[in-house]
């Protein structure tokens, strides 16, 4: 693999489309390097680091020569170096900008609301004998099944008697959900827990969480 890359890269430089395609394909790799170098996950609201990683990877493509060794190791070095520069610059810069305070505050507020919603979510799920771990174990791996389960959950949540039944019996009324959403009983049964969680989120008014999954 490394050997092939070493050959392709120098030729690729002139073709912008190819380069972009390439970077796109290696996004997971870039993220992995950033995450490991930082020893923490990149936060969505503060994704400078990821952008720097992308730019560094591009730089690596430009600067790479087969003499430098295998491409991915080289790219890793460049990414790490750029990140460290970035962090050093941030530390030196002692000015606290109003804009930064404002955005940090906003981020904090949003995270607090989310935190509360998540805590409430966990609690209600508990009364249904469901935990986040259960949901992780039961989560369908196939994207189609996931999407279908989400849609079923959102649709079923709008049907008052289904929701009432669910809350009363602490169990999903599988047949009714299947009928209402025009899917087979088998389909509903397979994603029972996931569907239940979606309905609970919708019924308890956990808007931020719903927003996150509906996007």
């Amino acid at each position: 693999m490394g050997y092939e890359l070493d050959v392709i890269i120098p030729d690729m430089r002139s073709a912008v489309d190819q380069v972009n395609h390439f970077i796109e394909a290696y996004r997971p790799f870039i993220l992995k390097v950033v995450t490991e170098t930082k020893n923490g996950y990149v936060d969505l609201r503060n994704d400078d680091e990821f952008s720097i990683g992308l730019m560094a990877f591009h730089e690596a493509i430009d600067r790479y020569k087969p003499e430098k060794g295998d491409f991915l190791s080289f790219a890793r070095l460049v990414i790490q170096s750029r990140l460290k520069n970035h962090w050093a610059r941030e530390n030196k810069d002692n000015m606290i900008r109003l804009e930064d305070i404002r955005s940090a505050d906003r981020a904090f507020q949003e995270a607090s609301v989310l935190k509360e919603e998540i805590a409430a979510f966990e609690k209600v799920l508990e009364s249904f004998c469901l935990s986040f771990e259960d949901l992780a174990d039961a989560s369908p791996k196939h994207i189609d099944t996931l999407t279908r389960a989400k849609e079923i959950g959102l649709t079923a949540a709008m049907q008052k008697d289904i929701v009432q039944d669910l809350y009363k019996k602490k169990r999903l009324p599988v047949t009714r959900v299947a009928e209402h959403c025009a899917v087979s009983v088998k389909t509903v049964k397979r994603s029972k827990k996931t569907i239940t969680a979606v309905i609970i989120a919708a019924t308890e008014g956990l808007d931020k969480i719903l927003e996150w999954i509906s996007g």
Binding site: R27, P28, F29, L31, K32, T35, N39, G40, Y41, V42, D43, L44, R45, D47, F50, A111, S112, V113, L114, K115, I118, A119, F121, E122, F132, E133, L135, A136, D137, A138, S139, P140, K141, I143, L146, T147, A149, K150, G153, K169, R171, P173, V174, T175, S184, V185, K186, K189, K192, K193, T194, V198, I209, W212, I213, G215
Partner: protein
Amino acid sequence: MVEKGLVLKINRDSAIVLTRENNYVRIVRRDGLSVGSKILYSDSDVIKTISWRMKQLKGKKTVAAAVIALVLVCAGLLGANAFRVNELPPVAATVVTVDINPSFKLSVDEGDLVLQAEALNDDAKTITLTDIAGMRVEDAVELLVQRAKEAGFIDTEDLEDDFVLVSAIDMDESEDDNDAAGEIMDRLRDKSEDSDVLKEVNLAMIEATVQQLQEAQRLNIPVGLYAVNGGEVGYTVKEFFADNGLAQQFMSSGEVIENSFEHQLSLMAAYIDLIEADGTTKEDLQSAFEASKMDFFEAKRLFKEAQAEYKEAVESGDEEQIAAAKAILEKAEAFKDLMEQNKDSVEAIKEILKGTLEGEENPEDQAAKEQEKADEAQKRLAEKAAEAAKRAEEAHKRLEEKAAEAAERADEAQKRLEEKTAKAAEKAAEKEADAAKKADEDAEPEKQSNN
């Protein structure tokens, strides 16, 4: 792939995030994580559990090759006929046994349809089972009860309660995400509300495990009874439930849906006519019976009405309507309480009738005793009716008080509003006066200067 995840929970070595596709994923724990933050992660951060790896293996060619080799070896050992796949029975997701007197075993698939119906004892063998495959499980149970009745195994016209024991066993124990047994019980519960056939019997339902099924089969007792107390061998379903202690034990892990009240009442109507007892006793019983019958239907009707109206009111959002509907609902509940108590009285009356019928052989000996019992039942009924009437009155009074309070508060609010308006008007008037005064004052110096 690069994924966005909302951090839901942080454990010692891992964290659980929720993706925008509604996938719940376990990832490696790293510094700086907090619940509620949104992060980027990649596939290498995901913790793969063993079952996940198994699912991965399913597609692998190596596994397929091994399976093919195994099949070929077995074919060689057992002969090719062993693999006529079309004749192999599809795997049952759930096994449902129905024990009345005849005992049946239903194999049910994932969609709650019956794959196969089998007879478990000689009585059951006399019942036709060939057309049951393909039916929904709840319809199959209803049909079996119907046929047992037609064949004479159940007599729903006598005063003895008939029990139908339904036990559901999840066969697929690997997936805990399965509560097929519970769902089948839900279906039966719903069905029994609409089925005339099922309403005439007491439906006892319980879940059991595969081990319990095997043990029960070995001991040759109904698995539902075995699941309750390890199976006192020798009880029939009827005997089991006739014993109060055992019945109670059953109800702690299972559920009994009693035969409908209406069915009991219709039986009683038939039997009251048959009593050749002393005229007074008969009339007392009849009037008590009529009273309870009327109340029962009244309660049912009112309650349904109240529920419908309440639902409408809530949907309309009109507060007045909601309050009024709630009032009716409370009244209906009071009546329902009355009905509940009447049920007890009806049970008592039933016992009396039973005793009377049995005592027909020695009418002189029994008559006095029966008279006493009837008097007591009558008294209890009257007391309960009085209590319920009182409670209904109290509820009514409370409602009136609440309405009065609400009216008072509305008056006060009105008054306060008027006061405020008056005050505001005053102030406005004051201001005008001031302004006018000021205007005059301003005009004065001019006058003076004009002089």
